[in-house]
């Protein structure tokens, strides 16, 4: 059977989600305590218990976390691709469930960069181990991470396609419109394009308000087989398609600064799902920076390459728009603890279930969670759908 004929479509579903954020940007709990709370809450959401879990995903060490939980899983997954790690976990967990490797998988995230700083809590070292071409060939030039690489991509996009700062700002503005509907969002006050442009330049052409937050945050999801999912507490969010692609680590090695590996992962995930951009009711597109989200709009096929600026500026991404994007308020206004991809999933699942409260989009059947990791380096696309889409 050729690769294209092998598919995960409908084999597994997300059946439980949990997350914890605060409008203050800080959480009281941290570390393992917070991770455990998320796992238990996601299992409770699904109507499962720890005893059901035989697969563990954790981007630092699934083995150490399984030991802490007292589990003896047959599937451990520690892939760390930065912000897209949790979309990769969706893909790999669904594959493992489909292949009979395990039955119930939990993936967890907790990070408290903001309170670590304000409370002067010691943080584990975050340096990149081993041979590191970025240290040798990029960091000596004062490249600020993660922002610098994104600024280079934005500068090139502006040069090639005439994209403007106003168009990038339109993404931040529409995302804030969603955040005003979310009482848990960090920032809820209305934002204008003029506000974004008046915020201090960081690495040009990016302004402060083109950049994501730094907040505490945590979350977890639980996945199981489609058969078992139907017996559980909440409506399943089926994995219709999933795909990942990476085309560089350091920005110097990115083949084309204006086209991400999402141009591979997106079409692959859509092909597996049997849907296209026109079928998407909700886009959860990783917004570490406004340019990040703009590139997703193009690379996933919501508009043509180079037209992301006019597309975003035309509106349609906010409440009532034709393509609701980042309905929780995104990394730009809701939360961003560093690896934001978990929150793409928790929001997508809630919208598919109709649990979106004031920000609920009518009739969400197909939702896309598109994670971006490292420095536009690793794109992972998960297409999720309701029972009706199977």
């Amino acid at each position: 059977m050729s690769r294209e004929d092998r598919s995960l479509r409908g084999a597994a579903a997300i059946v439980g989600v949990a997350d914890d954020v605060s409008p203050t940007g800080e959480l009281d709990r941290t570390g393992r305590e917070l991770e455990v709370a998320m796992v238990l809450a996601a299992l409770e959401d699904a109507g499962l218990t720890l005893a059901d879990v035989d697969g563990v995903c954790h981007p630092e060490s699934a083995v150490a976390f399984a030991e802490y939980l007292g589990l003896h899983p047959t599937f451990v997954e520690s892939t760390m691709t930065g912000g897209s790690s949790y979309e990769v976990h969706v893909e790999h967990a669904a594959a493992a469930i489909a292949a009979g490797v395990c039955d119930v998988v939990v993936s967890v995230y907790a990070s408290t960069p903001r309170s670590d700083r304000t409370r002067r809590r010691r943080r584990p070292g975050r340096g990149m181990p081993g041979p590191n071409p970025m240290a040798e060939w990029e960091l000596p030039f004062g490249l600020r991470l993660p922002m610098g690489p994104y600024a280079l991509a934005a500068a090139r996009h502006m040069h090639e396609f005439g994209t403007t700062s106003e168009q990038l700002a339109a993404i931040a503005v529409q995302t804030r419109e969603w955040a005003t509907l979310n009482p848990r969002a960090r920032y809820r006050d209305p934002l204008t394009i003029a506000d974004v442009l008046a915020s201090p330049l960081q690495v040009s052409p990016l302004h402060l308000l083109d950049c994501c937050l730094v907040t505490d945050g945590a979350g977890a999801f639980v996945m199981t087989s489609a058969e078992r999912a139907r017996t559980l507490r909440k409506p399943p969010a089926y994995v219709l398609g999933a795909a990942t692609c990476t085309d560089h680590m350091g920005i110097t090695q990115m083949p084309d600064l204006t086209t991400t590996a999402g141009s591979v992962s997106g079409p692959r995930a859509f092909a597996m799902a049997g849907v296209g951009p026109a079928d998407v009711d909700l886009l959860m597109g990783y917004d570490s920076f406004t340019i990040t989200a703009l590139l997703h709009l193009e690379d996933l096929g919501f508009c043509a390459k180079g037209e992301g600026g006019p597309f975003a500026a035309a509106g349609g991404l906010g409440p009532g728009g034709a393509l609701p994007m980042n309905t929780n308020g995104g990394g730009l206004s809701f939360t961003h603890p560093g690896m934001y991809g978990m929150f793409l999933l928790t929001e997508a699942v809630r919208q598919l279930r109709g649990e979106g409260e004031a920000r609920q989009v009518e009739g969400v059947e197909v939702a896309v969670a598109h994670g971006s990791g490292m420095f536009l380096s690793v794109m992972s696309t998960a297409v999720l759908g309701t029972e009706a889409t199977l």
Binding site: P140, G142, R144, H159, Q202, L209, C211, T252
Partner: protein, 180 residues
């Protein structure tokens, strides 16, 4: 609009993050340096040795006749393990993308005399792309497509870092040399 002093801190914005200042944090001599000095990779000895004489070398794949950067033990274009050889580059390049860091203190107190500076990706005539700082003109004057030539900044161990400055009137690279 909300002020948020923690936002955009280079250490805490991303779990994968590091930067010049944080990478040097444990090094007591670092404060005296003007910039984070590059470690030397296992494959890049000839590159760095040549910089001591102000020569810019590019690794070349003789199997597919293309330059490659950064140095490796196989060609990332064609997968051939070699033979790879070192060739001296002209030092002429075209700016592919350029940005200005408006918070230079984040790169270290002494970096760029504390003034906004330009970070660029430049395409060498030999067809490889490098990151650099474009110096010798105001950082905001650096434009995509601009012709630049190499200029050297000494490091503390005698190696030199390849920076670039606006090309002089003699023999600048041309915009149409841009391999993209």
């Amino acid at each position: 609009m909300s002020a948020d002093p923690v936002r955009n801190d280079p250490v805490s914005t991303n779990a994968t993050s590091t930067n010049a200042a944080s990478a040097d944090a444990a090094d007591p001599e670092a404060a005296a340096r003007t910039r984070f000095e590059p470690p030397m990779g296992a494959e890049s000895g000839p590159f760095w040795e040549a910089t001591r004489e102000g020569r810019l070398l590019v690794q070349w794949c003789t199997a597919c006749d293309r330059g490659l950067f950064y140095p490796r033990t196989l060609c990332p274009h064609c997968g051939a393990p070699g033979p790879l050889e070192w060739r001296e580059a002209s030092g002429r390049a075209i700016v592919h993308a350029a940005v200005v860091e408006h918070r230079p203190e984040l790169a270290g107190a002494a970096f760029a005399q504390g003034k906004p500076f330009c970070i660029a990706l430049v395409d060498l005539e030999e067809g490889v792309r490098m990151m650099t700082n474009v110096v010798g003109c105001p950082p905001g004057d650096v434009t995509i497509g601009m012709a630049v030539t190499v200029t050297w900044e000494p490091l503390s161990d005698g190696r030199q870092l390849a920076l670039f400055g606006p090309a002089g009137p003699a023999g600048p690279a041309r915009e149409d040399a841009d391999p993209s």
